[in-house]
Symmetry: C2
Subunit: 439 residues, 2 copies
């Protein structure tokens, strides 16, 4: 049996589990691969740093470049842009197969890496970069290769799903749910990348690129986080049969602007979204992730599992390693993701969505008529309107809360409507504006 030399870059949460599995399950992996997978070294910044897993000290090195040069397969789990990017490029130059879980790098500079790998005919795979343990990239690339994906809705950030699920279950405010997530280790001390939607946006760009055979970058993704979502929003959504999830959405849309008559574009966006409670994504609780796909022939598909954590993510990394190694054993050529298409990215303004709008209004005759008239003037059609009265001590001071769900309209028209409505004298404030999907 031949041996494949494996270099591991990074030994954090995921890397240490990958090393453990490579060492502990060596026989089973060899049986499934047809070659022994020999871990030749682990590149780290500091050899004496504490690790989750007890690993042989002689495996550690601080010389990542030397390690990469003698490897058949390089597993990059350092995260961040540099030196990860340079080391991957060097690996490709040396003809090594690359497995990475680095979503930030792939979202930022994926196209360059794919092109270099293609040109060198080496394999570059990155199942672990999106939705942790869930096999999602391979099904999109291979299983759905004879179909046409029209829409992808993903819960791809466990931290925000945990927080929103807590708020939905317990009625907690955002700050309290975040604190609870931090206490349980689901959120970092600085939660900005998660709650701001940036982590989900990077995964959205990768999902969109694969689904629509076109390379989308992080800049193409409209991004809104969950810090503005209140307990009142969640309660009102629940009351109306909805749940609020942070979704990464990539969808194929007709372009009816002057340039693109009859053509199609892709909108990639991340924002808090109202989903009907009977939608399969609504049943995704805690820190779990799921990706819901609509395809022309396959219809609706969903992939569900753990989106983070050292061991689950290590499973995805090892799946890539074994699959790549099998191909190397069989002597087949390398192949990376195919993104042959050129569907243009569409700005959020061109997207047709539906809004849930919360309004705090004076409880006076004619208020509803005034609001309805304004929506009509803007060409935005109201689907449902619910009003609840808050009685006040002084007569004439009572206020009412109104929740409106609109039919689909362009983001531009919806934004203009919200802008206009704030200027109505009868409106105390616009308390929330959230998008709705799947209804």
């Amino acid at each position: 049996m031949s041996t494949l030399r494996i270099a591991l870059l990074g030994c954090g949460n995921v890397g240490s589990q990958v090393a453990r599995i490579l060492l502990e399950d060596a026989d089973a992996l060899a049986a499934r691969t047809g070659a022994r997978l020999e871990l030749t070294g682990i590149a780290v910044r500091s050899i004496d740093a504490p690790r989750d897993v007890d690993l042989p000290r002689e495996l550690f090195t601080t010389d990542a470049e030397a390690l990469v040069e003698s490897a058949d397969i390089v597993i990059e789990l350092m995260g961040g842009i540099e030196p990860a990017r340079s080391l991957i490029l060097r690996s490709i130059e040396h003809g090594a197969t690359v497995v990475s879980g680095n979503k930030a790098l792939l979202a930022l500079d994926g196209p360059t890496l794919y092109e270099k790998a293609d040109a060198a005919k080496v394999q570059l795979s990155y199942e672990a970069a999106v939705a942790g343990a869930i096999p999602i990239l391979r099904p999109i690339r291979d299983s759905l290769s004879g179909d046409r994906i029209t829409r992808v809705l993903g819960i791809v950030n466990g931290t925000t799903n945990f927080i929103l699920d807590q708020m939905d279950t317990t009625g907690a405010q955002f700050d309290d749910a975040l604190a609870e997530a931090q206490r349980l280790g689901y959120a970092e001390a600085d939660p900005t990348a998660d709650v701001g939607g940036h982590d989900a946006a990077a995964k959205g760009a990768i999902l969109a690129s694969l689904s629509f055979h076109t390379r989308f970058a992080l800049d193409d993704v409209y991004c809104e986080g969950i810090t503005q979502v209140t307990a009142a929003d969640i309660a009102a959504a629940k009351d109306a049969g909805f749940v609020i999830k942070l979704l990464a959405i990539a969808e194929l849309l007709p372009r009816d602007d002057a340039d693109g008559a009859g053509a199609e574009g892709v909108s990639v966006r991340v924002h808090p979204t109202l989903l009907p409670r009977d939608h399969p994504l609504a049943a995704v609780h805690g820190a779990f992730n799921a990706v819901f796909i609509e395809a022309e022939n396959a219809g609706e598909l969903m992939f569900y599992g753990q989106g983070a954590g050292g061991t689950p993510t290590a499973s995805a990394v090892l799946g890539d390693v074994v699959s790549a190694a099998r191909r190397m054993v069989l002597g087949g050529p390398g192949r990376t993701e195919t993104t042959t298409g050129h569907v243009p990215s569409m700005s959020i303004d061109a997207v047709r969505t539906s809004y849930s709008i919360g309004l705090d209004v004076a409880d006076q005759p004619g208020v509803l008529a005034r609001i309805a008239q304004l929506f009509a003037e803007q060409g935005v059609s109201i689907e449902t309107l619910r009003q609840s009265i808050h009685p006040a001590g002084d007569p004439g001071q009572a206020t009412a809360e109104i929740r409106i769900v609109t039919h689909r309209a362009t983001e531009a028209a919806l934004a203009a409507t919200v802008e206009q409505i704030q200027h109505l004298a009868v409106i105390n404030s616009v308390t929330s504006v959230l998008r709705v999907e799947g209804a």
Copy 2:
């Protein structure tokens, strides 16, 4: 650009949609594959039979053997054992790649076909044979290849899921829900293969073979259908926080019998199963399918989608065709599923499950104690016991309904307990015996 010649065997529900997509989407498929996929002919029994899709008459032939001999890729969608088996073997001999959706044939004689394909170094793939459009075989084979699957729970028959879901939603009896399923086209006029669990058993054998790298045949699968499930069973389950689903289960278990001390075996079985209502599989409604996988590192995963229907299943077939064609274009060797392991199949008697048992008993003092004593004698531990009294006209004639959920015990011990309990004088009848999972 090169051309790959495609022979299609069978033009039913799925075959006609595969032909349509190959013709309609030829340009997109060529772009994704790197070769033109030319449909050279469709083998049918009768050229003039009515079809779902309007296809060029000149494509049809009754000479399947001649068609196969000139093909690069053979798509077998005839179903049944012969002539499908002979035509697949002939295709392999000619070096053609084979894509099949024939679960009956694969469950019955898969091992022979895989061996022939391996020996001839041609690809044999069959994503469409299990769970229709859901990409499940490829994720198990590739994405989880570096992990260790410990359990697979599948809702893999849409007809029975539709019927059970109807019963759960509307309170209908089995016969009425079956009639409704037939009216809507979800069940055939002769529903035996579905409601008897045989279709699910064939898919269970295929799932188990892939998950545990060992070849399991239909004979290895214990099979119980849903015809005995009553509205009362469903209502009692609902009351206790469960839903009843027909599951195909494949799980790795320790073998503590004399032969296999310390070793492991696989139990493959199909039976109606109580699942907690918050289990992800409980949210799978109507004719949808889903496969829930537990793996050592990945944790819990679920794959959800349409399990049947011409167009969704055609999507899975085309995914196999494009993936195989890409590999042919790149010049890589063929590879079929790897089933290199030898985990023994375990009889249902050796499996440890938990039972939900319904009893109709006389409402007399001491009945509960007598029942509890009998369970204790058999070494079966009771987890929950609920009693509801049915008052009668005559005093002393009142009966009670008891529902017991046991802790896990061997099937043998549970079966013995149920057998014994029927002989107790205070028991009018054992009204139901159902297994519980996921609690």
